[in-house]
Symmetry: C2
Amino acid sequence: MDNPIYIAVDAMGGENSPNKVIKGIEIHNSTSYNVYYNIFGNKNIIQPIINKHKILSKYYKIIHTENIIKDSDSPLSAAKKGKDTSMWLSIESLKNNESDAIVSAGNTGALFVIAKLNLKMIEKIDKPALSALWPNKNGMNIVLDLGANIECNEKNLIDFSLMGSALHKSLFEKETSKVALLNIGSEEMKGSNVIKNTYQILNEKKNDLFEFKGYIEGNNIMDGDVNVIVTDGFTGNIALKTAEGTANFITSELKKALNSNLLGKLSALLNIKNLKKFKKKLDPRLYNGAILLGLDKPVIKSHGSTDEIGFANSLKVCEKIIKGNLIDKIKKNIN
Amino acid sequence: MDNPIYIAVDAMGGENSPNKVIKGIEIHNSTSYNVYYNIFGNKNIIQPIINKHKILSKYYKIIHTENIIKDSDSPLSAAKKGKDTSMWLSIESLKNNESDAIVSAGNTGALFVIAKLNLKMIEKIDKPALSALWPNKNGMNIVLDLGANIECNEKNLIDFSLMGSALHKSLFEKETSKVALLNIGSEEMKGSNVIKNTYQILNEKKNDLFEFKGYIEGNNIMDGDVNVIVTDGFTGNIALKTAEGTANFITSELKKALNSNLLGKLSALLNIKNLKKFKKKLDPRLYNGAILLGLDKPVIKSHGSTDEIGFANSLKVCEKIIKGNLIDKIKKNIN
């Protein structure tokens, strides 16, 4: 029998919280086994919501606190106000070994600063990195760093390769991890010195943790030839958000085109099943949940504006990476 | 009456050249007025193609050369082999004031090196930048740099703002240029020191050339709130190519979804007019033509894999920026 899993849930962060958080827990609870929730936040708000949903009391514990960190708080002011907020307490429960992973839809900067204050870095890793899932033609990419580190050196990018492939393995056990460096050309001479040096090191030091596939350009990220894409946090953040903006632009143009006359509306209606399938494949809620790598416990950031389905998926990510022994895999890869 | 415009055309670069080049000239010629083409390449191949098309002989001159630069040539080996290639000769015709602008669908790196060897930089500009058009909800963005400079300092980014807004004005005379810096957050404290310093300078030095709109994130590039987006060449290249890859991914998924069963196919058929309109709005051929800014003559790079319609549009870009006095506008903005 599997060991029980305890997820610390900051119930108070993000839009429509704690409503979506509790609904997300209900959805996740209905499909998971042996997973328990430590819910941090205002009991007077949370308990009445839970009572309306089908979550057996054995599955959750509410740890009451009235203080919350707002999206408008700077990371430092959040950390100062911290100790009895739902975010701080939920991270602290990892430190005290009461929970195995934490998920929050709240203030991203605050989450990282408070996580770094409370949790230890994995030995030999200099900088934590923010990673996320990004769909490709054959499945999912892991992309990192997405904004935790604006500037990165060779050692950081190599650490990201090792952590990213560990994450990939813990989520997709049966696949081979294929790492590529995001660059502006596929030739060896392109890119900054840091990227070129990293290429040399990864290319020479063959390992059995992942296949190194060299450089990848932005237009090939979704081709599915690689599945772990490594870059500095500035570039990764811009790339991810540009993809998001492009997807929104195209789907809204498509909607406009299909609704522009009666015939269009009618035939779109006929086509609704196919269009729904299309929409589902691109649904950002399906890959909600960015993972902060490098700390000795898993810290997961849900998108602040996601709904209960997105939040349930970030709980699924927590469950998977605990069952997939992410932290052990990272430690093994680093050594 | 407008002055005649002479466009130097490297007929031998890119896929399916010189076929698509000549067809593109025919298309452009049918809608333009007082525009003449200096066509550089192998006359024995070019003349028979022209004879099959409706281009009056008064509109073109073929400058014969048998040597061409291949896509596989490195920029330096291309420059060495250079002097009697179609690319070199077409650029040289700008230097000799025989042409007003040059367009090539050939080797990008070679085009820039040969352009820099032959043409002067505009005074007070340190680095040329590669810019392109990118659709947004309200029209078109100018985005630069797209890969000419991997690393940029404050002066470079400010030059890019001035050159980009000049390009915007020369293409879209009636619009106000609104400049933003691509960054990973909208708060002043985010980003690298170079970006933060550039922000300060642009924010303090108000000017009547453009409105400075602060930072923009990747997901807002296509929102249409700004129209000149400034970044270093590494980030810009990754962002543009990521958008391209995302658009390809989504449209191919859409195609799959619409074709997945008979009902889908039928209703897509009914909807074909709307879908065509949708496709047209996103057609990359419509904004084909990247412009190298900073040299004292306009150098335009057509996408290598575009077709005659795309090539015709890059000729349209040439025509517009000559009529819009791009180079004068840049000089005025810089001073």
